[in-house]
């Protein structure tokens, strides 16, 4: 087949064969990877600006208004536009697949990806057109500071964020409505039984009964372990959306009063109290849903890759419950540099409870590795490679954060590049995305009806460039942080130049890797197929694989 023919038609992809659930999943996946490209370009602009005289970009990118508006939208596009969309897409496919039930509503699923896409675009436009730049932290009263920012920019930004959160509520409703639907295998289950299983209480009771030498509370839990992780993580997703939406509404009220000519007094809101409220909610993303979703994804991937039961499943179920409780009590590690924060909160929430994450994530790592180990010998497939990459990412990123969640270390590391690069970027780019890529390779045959990936070579090139680029960028940025480079600061005079040039080289590897991956996907589904994904599905089925058994087939490649 000629190159042009493959480019237009793909390998063997037929969008007409996809049902409604598959199509809505792929729509969100496509949007997610487009936003990933945008966020990678934004990241590269910031990396280039920090290289000083080596920066080839026009001068306007170094202007503080421009630079910080990019820094403001970068995490919005990355976390919500890309990551949320990809995770939501995977889970809206997986929950019906794993529970053997139809998705509650495909219309709602379409609303979710559309509202998150439009919301992200609005927030981006607010930065691009009006250079609204309070950063994602929205530290009070900066978002309501109309002396530095245009009012219209603030309003558009907040509306965008609100739309993302409304889409998030749509996802949550769809997931819970599907899990609690008493149809199919859950026809005879009560809501109480599903709730007990969803919260992992059955796992805890099983462990408790085992200790007392009694029969297990439940031999066959109502919900599969990955669904439990999705259920549990979604609790944090809900709480986080409530907090972010609440903060957004507060900012909006102030902006509207400002526009009416009767501005409210910003000092009415206590900045430190607001910071506590906001970090409590925002931390439910970083230390809550991400860790819980990731642990659940590792368990799912380990069982799918090996085709065997998870090692220590009851412990894993109970640990997910513990992770949820821990995630509600760790926000003070973001306030270790705030002298008005009570010392006991710093000590208990900021240090001690936060250190628990070493235990919960260490446990997830252990269970996943042992499950894989017991199934030796395994073939080094793409999904296994990416899963191991994801384990490396969190293995590096979690201790990097625990080190800083300490009153002594925080005094010399807070707000430096250490935390944003050695922790956040490695956790997201390597840990989370490698896990998501693994899931993508596992789900690819199911979602695309066994479409062949175009090139195995390109898949491997993507893997290595992405892994080396991700770890390298995080490492060099982290080293700059140790040398005093701040994370929310503008450096254009060549300070920390060596590290920034090396970080930019690694960053460009991530960008190139993304382009390679995208090209491979386009060559697999074809331009016509890509467009077809967005056309209405002829098959209105909202479930997948009711008769299928695990494991899923491994994706085939058109070219080796």
């Amino acid at each position: 087949m000629s190159f042009v023919n493959t480019l237009m038609n793909g390998t063997n992809f037929d969008h007409k064969s996809l049902n409604a659930l598959q199509k809505v999943t792929l729509r969100a996946v496509v949007m997610s990877f487009l936003f990933f490209g945008l966020v990678a370009i934004e990241g590269m602009i910031m990396r280039m600006v920090s290289t000083g005289s080596a920066n080839p970009l026009p001068e306007m990118f170094s202007h503080p208004e421009h630079y910080f508006s990019i820094m403001t939208v970068h995490p919005i596009v990355g976390i919500f536009g890309s990551t949320y969309q990809l995770v939501f897409a995977a889970f809206m496919f997986l929950v019906p697949y794993l529970t053997k039930k139809p998705l509650y509503s495909v219309k709602l699923a379409n609303f979710v990806w559309l509202s998150i896409t439009i919301g992200t675009a609005l927030a981006w436009i607010a930065g691009f057109v009006w250079q609204y730049a309070p950063l994602y932290t929205l530290y009070w009263p900066l978002p309501a500071d109309t002396e530095q920012f245009q009012l219209i920019g603030g309003i558009v930004f907040i509306l965008g964020v609100a739309l993302i959160m409304i889409g998030t509520f749509g996802f949550i409703y769809n997931i819970y409505a599907t899990i609690f639907a008493r149809v199919g295998v859950h026809k005879d289950k009560t809501t109480k039984e599903l709730l007990i299983s969803g919260f992992g209480i059955d796992g805890m009771l099983n462990l408790w009964n085992k200790l007392r030498g009694k029969q297990p509370y439940s031999k066959e839990p109502a919900l599969a372990l990955p669904v439990v992780a999705i259920f549990r993580g979604t609790v944090d997703t809900f709480l986080d959306a409530v907090v972010i939406l609440g903060a957004g509404l507060l900012v909006l009220v102030y902006l509207i009063f400002d526009a009416s000519g009767a501005p409210l007094n910003v000092a009415t809101i206590d900045a430190l109290l607001y910071k506590n409220f906001f970090w409590w909610g925002l931390d439910l993303v970083a230390d809550g849903l991400v860790l819980i979703y990731v642990a659940g994804s590792w368990y799912l991937l380990a069982t799918l890759i090996t085709g065997q039961k998870l090692f220590m499943e009851n412990v894993a179920r109970a640990a997910l419950m513990l992770e949820l409780l821990v995630s509600w009590m760790v926000w003070s590690h973001h306030l270790l540099g705030d002298q008005g924060q009570p010392e006991m909160m710093k000590l208990i929430s900021g240090e001690m409870v936060t250190a628990f994450e070493l235990l919960t994530q260490g446990l997830a790592l252990f269970i996943t590795l042992v499950t894989l180990w017991k199934a030796r010998p395994l073939k080094m497939t793409m999904e296994l490679k990416y899963l191991l990459g994801g384990l490396v990412g969190f293995g590096l990123a979690i201790p990097a954060a625990i080190i800083q969640a300490d009153m002594g270390m925080n005094r010399v590391l807070h707000n430096t590049q250490w935390i944003i690069m050695a922790h956040v970027h490695i956790a997201l780019i390597v840990g989370l995305y490698m896990t998501l890529y693994s899931a993508l390779y596992v789900l690819w045959p199911l979602v695309t009806n066994n479409t062949k990936m175009w090139s195995a070579k390109l898949s491997n090139t993507h893997f290595w460039m992405y892994l080396i680029g991700g770890i390298g960028m995080g490492a060099f940025g982290g080293m700059a942080g140790l040398d005093g480079m701040l994370r929310r600061h503008l450096y254009i005079n060549g300070e920390y130049n060596t590290y920034m040039i090396l970080a930019a080289i690694c960053g460009s590897m991530i960008l190139i890797a993304w382009a390679i991956f995208l090209f491979n996907v386009v060559m697999s589904v074809g331009v016509k197929g890509l467009i077809g994904i967005f056309l209405p599905a002829e098959d209105k089925t909202t479930s997948y694989g009711l008769e299928d058994t695990l494991p899923s087939p491994e994706p085939e490649f058109s070219k080796k």
């Binding site: 630079y67 250079q131 900045a271 001690m352 070493l358 010399v412």
Partner: protein, 199 residues
């Protein structure tokens, strides 16, 4: 073992974390290689599950015990309201401008000083930096609440002050080349021994 300033602490941290990073990457790589082999891999070391969990607990708790006992500013910070300081320096920030206690501040080695900073509008940061750009220390500066820190300098040097928290683009000149909140060589510490410590 005691760290007398951030340079010593961060150098130690850099080495320790680099060793850890190399170890975790190597372990997963070794693990991945052996996953695919038919031949059973020889265990380098067998660690029972409960030992592994105990190791994680010890790591999480031990880290804080270690830093409490080796970093002098931790206990100083926790007990700061019970201590009598040698000198207090008051700073105010409004509209990205500092009101300083003096144009230049000279501090004797080993003196315990307090920096008390007030913001009249936004959230800023208070950070001191060496001439090579490395950080001495920082704290957040919130409007409407107390922002005070005790510090004992044990090394001679001249330190710049700037805000370590983003408070909008007005912190910079329009071309981005100048940090308008940076006060160069504001603090000078004198009287320490060459390698650090009170003479």
């Amino acid at each position: 073992m005691t760290f007398t300033n951030s340079l010593e602490l961060l150098a130690f941290h850099n080495v320790a974390y680099s060793i850890y990073a190399a170890m975790i990457i190597s372990i997963i790589a070794w693990f991945g290689y052996n996953l695919t082999r038919d031949k059973k891999a020889k265990s380098v070391v067998r660690i029972p599950f409960y030992y592994y969990m105990a190791f994680l607990v010890a790591g999480g708790v031990g880290h804080h015990i270690f830093t409490y006992n080796t970093i002098p500013w931790v206990s100083e910070d926790i007990t700061r309201h019970e201590q009598t300081v040698d000198t207090t320096y008051n700073f105010t920030i409004e509209k990205h401008k500092w009101t300083l206690p003096a144009e230049k501040i000279t501090i004797e080695c080993g003196q315990q000083v307090e920096f008390d900073v007030m913001s009249k509008d936004l959230i800023y940061g208070f950070g001191l930096f060496r001439q090579d750009g490395s950080m001495v220390m920082q704290m957040q500066v919130n409007p409407g609440s107390s922002n005070d820190i005790l510090w004992t300098f044990l090394h001679n040097g001249e330190f710049d002050l700037t805000s370590t928290e983003y408070a909008g683009p007005n912190q910079y000149s329009h071309d981005g080349k100048t940090d308008l909140m940076r006060v160069k060589k504001l603090i000078k510490v004198v009287g320490c021994k060459e390698g650090g410590g009170v003479k």
